[in-house]
Symmetry: C2
Amino acid sequence: MKRYLIAPGPVAVDPHVMAVMSQPVMHHRSPQFSKILSQVRKDLKYLYQTNNDCLIFASSGTGGMEACVSNLLSPGDKAICIVGGKFGERWAEMCDAFGVEHVDINVEWGHAVDPAQVADALDEHPDAKAVFVQAHETSTGAMHPVEELGKIVGQRDGTVLVVDAISALGVYDMKVDEWGLDVVVTGSQKSLSLPPGLAVVSVSDKAWKFAEKAKNSHYYFNFLKERKAMAKDTTAYTSAVSLIIGLAEVLKQIRERGLENLFAHHRLLSGGTKAAVEAMGLEQFSKAPSDALTIIKAPEGINGQDIVKILREDYGITIAGGQAHLKGKVFRIAHYGYLSQWDMIIVIAAIERALNELGFKVELGSGVAAAQRYFAEHKI
Amino acid sequence: MKRYLIAPGPVAVDPHVMAVMSQPVMHHRSPQFSKILSQVRKDLKYLYQTNNDCLIFASSGTGGMEACVSNLLSPGDKAICIVGGKFGERWAEMCDAFGVEHVDINVEWGHAVDPAQVADALDEHPDAKAVFVQAHETSTGAMHPVEELGKIVGQRDGTVLVVDAISALGVYDMKVDEWGLDVVVTGSQKSLSLPPGLAVVSVSDKAWKFAEKAKNSHYYFNFLKERKAMAKDTTAYTSAVSLIIGLAEVLKQIRERGLENLFAHHRLLSGGTKAAVEAMGLEQFSKAPSDALTIIKAPEGINGQDIVKILREDYGITIAGGQAHLKGKVFRIAHYGYLSQWDMIIVIAAIERALNELGFKVELGSGVAAAQRYFAEHKI
């Protein structure tokens, strides 16, 4: 069966990029590879809209998140975690794992945090050394207002803002320097449209001071060692060379295309899909939706997992179900990855069919028609 | 731009098959390769539904056609060519090139030949040594009735039936032995879903007698040399080893899937597309349509080439326009190749959009809705 991957990650990869990654493996300490790595680090700054250092780890995005906790804070330090989904919970779990005391701001899943709550928490806990947040909560589709948080945290010399932007960076506009986002994590398997295996972490001058002072248990994820290695155009431990060669190709393409066009592409796919959701009589889950994902509530009486299963097993299309207590309640469609408007047409058509099979009557073609109208009106 | 290839050939290839073909190049005279070639020849008989020898040439399908003319007939011999499209014309041109006298049965483009006309022509020209025909005329989408022609030619010891089945074999049921199809040509870049570069020709015992007697100019395309080479599990000249390794994989998959399921798949894609054509207020060109292609007349006042151009340049979707005097009048969609029902949804959606852009009003989503209903009702 021909297969289509339209899930929040891993994502479909351009066969051309796959071919580039298939070239003979290079040695990670060779001058040939150092040259590539040096260009990648320059191009990452373009993607990040930053002059900060961009560290590259051979790990999943979670490894990049852990690196932030274990490099910026010491045991007994205090942090504020914004917990509005599975990945917000992960920040709190990591604080526990590294002996960091954490004050959680619990946000109803699907909602964005109110920046005033964060300001209040910082007033109440002026000793909090970090605020941990998601730019976009992959489990709920909600965008937290990181621009506002940047202003709030930026006024406090003793606190850094650490942003998990794994499913946000490159999807929509995020001005890392202008907004004062001290530390920003991303992964290869989301908007970079690569296989999983790379995490990138940008570190501001302010954040480096925290890293220079912090004492915590870490060896592999070591900001200071990576900074030293960076000065020699290498990485502290073995680079994931093939993935980085893929990253070089993807970043070159992004530069050629321009960030604005990249964001407009995601906006188009997201807009068409969201128009289809409404036309099919369905409802979005997120109250602060992004252009990264569309998360749809399963209609009353229908298990969202059944929709996911029919798409995967009968139609060859992989989307994602809900996580944790949202399991069965929602299903999630990605707009990043190697996807086009036509992939959105496919997934909408498949959802129309699956819903009918499960007894929820949707007029076949009605969702697609709404997406078609949106795409025709918003040609880019 | 993400690209989709939904043209009558070359066709999209399964990335898994591409990966198989990317293995290190084998030597064409090695025992390792001979074993593969031997299995391929067995599996080709399954695809062809034949016990006849299946010769493999490193050439496009046209090379396979030429091999038939230059190996079965001598200069001054007479043949009957059924000319109902660009590929029927090609048989006649090849007869000219090899000094074969030809009686053409001209058929209106888009129509099937009337078998009675062929019987009459053979009565009038009992010395005709071959009848050349297309199973499916790729330029017009019409199927000629090769089963009936097999009966007619089968009664005549002095005549062989030579079928260009390049866009037919593997698409729909064609019983080579049961129907008495003496020589049947196919190519790798159609229903076999491989890159172009291989032609296969099946040769019946009756046809071998013609090949043993004929004298014509040929060197590379040599039936007798290939038969000798076949006995040693090799080819007369250098085999296109990587393509044959791909062919081995494709034929293995076809065996596992079963011919009936392969045909049902094409029937589904064709049926859904043809339902959409009607729903969009368009008309099929062919009067004897196949499950290989859907050929659509460009609406009055619209140049079919503009539809093809918008799909290719604005939407990244390659279909085909009309050939020869049909240029601008029709556009052609393939149902074979590495395609799914979702690719049909894509191409229909894109046609809806292109027609509206060109001023022919089609309700967006209406074609897709018809295809969706067809697919839902004909689940396989």
